[in-house]
């Protein structure tokens, strides 16, 4: 009933191939956009901004970047966190060398550096595939984190070896550093995430996206029909690393405020890979759903016992949290091995037919 498609006639090929062939999808997206742009900022507390809204958006973006590479182009990567680090350190260096630079431009530019590094580490993908490639990207992970530790120039010879985000402003409004308001940071993150998501949707539906998918599904066949594998794989590495790099810059500048090299170590890579896998490889929506499950849910679960007035010690809640989230991950993967995005796709199909299935 909610998703009834009766009466929505398509009279041209454009209409049939549109992003939203069903009107309700567009309404739903519009509703979510209103939530994200108007309702949440008006109602959220500082805590909600800092622990739910901003991190979910940033993790979604990082997972989106990984999904381009792993989900669309089929190249398994374990170096996501290191590429995020490249973005973060590049942004830090640009801001400290050129303090007059607009922070938004610096963040968007920092992705270029990680794209370059990503392409360099993507070159082995031309010869090796699958698990072997994963090991090659693992090398990037170890090498880059080591570099962040040892190359003191990267953190301006700071005695603690960590980078600390300065107070940056755009036209007198603080956007990063301790003086910045959460709501400003939220809008900035939301703007960049929306922009890059829009770019990615278009890329994956276009020519480039089709070449990636062909490469993923069977690279020999793709080569035979005239797809340049080198171009296809390296563009996937470049675009993926660009997005991941921007996510890394946002991660440090718009959320964490400070970062030590080991922040970009392998656990973060795994976390983002889990978000992409549980959300659904080869989908855009999945990254958001995955981030909500992996990043948002534990925070909310932590609040539940207190809200219900159950006296549990904080460490107990933490242990329970581990078990519940772990159990949910297993549950979702058993119910739908292709991730939450596929679950939504099936649900939507059922809704279209409901209440009169054949």
């Amino acid at each position: 009933m909610l998703y009834r498609t009766a009466g929505q006639f398509k009279t041209s090929y454009e209409a049939d191939q549109a992003l939203f062939p069903v009107k309700q999808d567009a309404f739903l997206l519009g509703f979510i956009m209103v939530l994200a742009w108007v309702i949440f900022p008006l109602t959220a507390s500082e805590f909600t901004f800092q622990t739910l809204l901003i991190p979910i958006l940033i993790y979604s973006l990082a997972a989106l970047g990984l999904n381009i590479l792993t989900g669309y182009a089929g190249q398994l990567s374990l170096g996501t966190a290191a590429f995020m680090g490249v973005g973060a350190y590049a942004c830090y260096k640009m801001i400290t060398i050129m303090p007059w630079m607009n922070p938004i431009i610096a963040i968007l530019l920092s992705g270029v550096f990680s794209a370059g590094v990503g392409v360099a580490f993507g070159i082995p993908s031309l010869r090796i595939k699958g698990f072997y490639l994963a090991i090659a990207t693992l090398a990037a992970q170890f090498f880059l984190v080591w570099l962040f530790e040892k190359w003191a120039w990267l953190y301006n010879y700071n005695a603690s070896g960590a980078i600390q985000v300065p107070n940056l402003d755009i036209f007198g409004l603080y956007v990063s550093g301790p003086q910045a308001d959460s709501i400003v940071q939220y809008y900035l993150v939301l703007f960049i995430v929306c922009l890059l998501t829009w770019v990615c949707i278009n890329l994956t539906r276009g020519n480039l996206g089709r070449t990636w998918k062909a490469t993923r599904d069977m690279d020999i066949a793709a080569e035979l029909i005239g797809i340049n594998l080198m171009k296809s794989k390296l563009t996937a590495f470049a675009i993926s690393s660009y997005i991941v790099g921007v996510a890394g810059a946002l991660f440090v500048f718009m959320w964490r405020g400070a970062a030590e090299p080991n922040l970009f170590d392998i656990p973060l890579s795994f976390r983002i890979l889990f978000i992409a896998i549980i959300g659904g490889l080869g989908s855009i929506l999945g990254n958001y759903l995955g981030a909500i499950l992996i990043v948002g849910l534990p925070v909310v679960l932590n609040l539940v016992p207190e809200a219900l007035g159950i006296p549990l010690s904080s460490s107990m809640v933490e242990h329970l949290n581990f078990m519940i989230v772990g159990g949910l991950i297993v549950f979702f993967l058993i119910v739908e091995p292709h991730g939450l995005a596929q679950l939504w796709r099936l649900l939507r199909e059922k809704l279209i037919l409901w209440p009169f299935p054949y």
Binding site: I32, A159, L285, Y288, V304
Partner: protein
């Protein structure tokens, strides 16, 4: 995406209900880490802290009539969780105890905006001792630079350091690098050779490469800035390579009984500087035994209670309680706020008499904080592992703060400049 709205709603609801339940209490949350990779050291510290606060609530009805709500928020030593806890508690907290260098780094710049004192006893950024710049941060009773200075002082008391070689085995992390500026300065002054040997976070448990280097170098002393699994790793390696244990010294976080108990009698002679000492016959320990532990209100056990870290937890809570008392006396109200507690923490005066009055005699050295001096520089004792437990082997060592005062001011200024606009408390006189 439906989940998203539901989650956010639940979050908002929880935040709203959490804010409503407070009365005649002082909310002093602790960002505890009873889970995660460092839980082994976290648990005794957290138990000590919580038990002392429970004792105050049970025996004295709180502090100045106001009960202490010493709630723990579990971080698992993860920076991300730490920030989550900080955001969750900062609304009504009068103090925050971040408990990890990573969390301290994140929270420190925010305190000027949020106006909440950070209590980081014996850890964190050493230049925090400059209270003029770091108005809201306190690393009482001693910082890492004090520790470095005291260790060198102790070594000097064993014979001149001129021409000696000291290996500095440290965690390759902001925490481990912290004392290097002071050690380098002392090396230049006293004429010893300092060789820093970093241990990566991934190599904590397997330090064979580092100890091979130490064996080749043949240093006269090894000074360790280790944490978590690194301590036990280093001690077992030292035993294995037959390094003379009496020439092996660590900072206070490298003196955890459980780490040494693994090596037992083989680790005899290992030393650790400390500003706290487990004195089982101190009155406060007896009170805790009878009024907290015997009533089943504690999570601690008997072996843990005898350890250095448990007693350190007690000392930390006692320092916080003194700060609260000072603020209550000044402002004439039991329910002080964060700003008033800052004043209180700046006016702690732990004299010998006061320490005895609190029943802590022999457990913490006397110290005094002020508006410009947020550390107190209490000094400490050199503790030695006798095969079963730590014993005091030195008189009270006091750091020569003047030696690195200028360095602290310089670093503090650097920090303030990098984080401009950074308000400085001009009302303070020089230290």
């Amino acid at each position: 995406m439906k989940h998203f709205t539901r989650l956010a709603l639940a979050g908002a609801l929880a935040a709203a209900t959490a804010g409503a339940s407070m009365a005649q209490e002082l909310y002093a949350p602790n960002l505890a880490y009873r889970t995660g990779p460092f839980a082994a050291t976290g648990i005794p510290l957290m138990n000590g802290q919580a038990d002392y606060m429970t004792l105050l609530n049970e025996r004295d009805g709180g502090i100045g009539g106001a009960k202490i709500d010493f709630e723990e928020c579990e971080t698992g030593y993860s920076t991300e969780k730490g920030v989550e806890c900080y955001e969750k508690t900062k609304g009504k907290a009068i103090v925050t105890q971040p408990w990890s260098t990573g969390i301290t780094l994140q929270v420190l710049p925010k305190t000027n905006v949020d106006a909440i004192p950070i209590l980081a006893p014996g850890y964190g950024f050493s230049p925090m001792m400059d209270g003029k710049t770091f108005q809201w941060a306190f690393n009482t009773p001693a910082g890492y630079w004090d520790a470095a200075d005291m260790i060198i002082q102790y070594l000097e008391s064993q014979g001149s350091l001129n021409g000696k070689k000291i290996a500095f085995l440290h965690l390759d992390h902001p925490y481990g690098k912290e004392p290097i500026p002071v050690l380098e300065q002392l090396a230049a002054e006293k004429g010893f050779e300092l060789s820093p040997i970093p241990v990566g976070l991934k190599e904590m448990q397997n330090q064979s490469a580092q100890w091979l280097q130490i064996r080749r170098m043949r240093p006269d002393y090894v000074v360790m800035w280790g944490w978590g699994a690194m301590n036990a790793g280093a001690i077992t390696e030292a035993v294995k390579t037959k390094f003379p244990m009496e020439n092996f010294l660590g900072v206070w976080w490298s003196g955890h009984d459980a780490d040494l108990a693994i090596a037992g009698a083989d680790a005899k002679g290992y030393k650790s500087i400390s500003w706290s000492f487990p004195k089982m016959d101190a009155p406060v320990m007896k009170d805790i035994q009878s009024m907290v532990i015997d009533k089943g209100m504690s999570k601690t056990d008997e072996t843990e209670m005898k350890g250095v870290f448990y007693s350190r937890g007690i000392v930390i809570s006692a320092i916080l309680a003194e700060g609260i008392r000072a603020a209550q006396a000044e402002y004439g109200t039991a329910e002080i706020n964060a700003e008033q507690l800052r004043w209180g923490l700046e006016h702690i005066d732990m004299t010998e008499e006061r320490i005895a009055e609190l029943g802590l005699d022999g457990m913490v050295p006397p110290f005094k904080t002020s508006c410009a001096n947020h550390t107190g520089h209490s000094g400490g004792w050199m503790l030695e592992w006798d095969g079963e437990k730590f014993v005091k082997v030195s008189d009270l060592l006091t750091p020569n703060v003047a030696g690195y005062q200028a360095l602290a001011e310089e670093k503090a200024k650097e920090y303030a400049d990098a984080n401009a606009p950074w308000p400085v408390n001009e009302g303070c006189d020089a230290m």
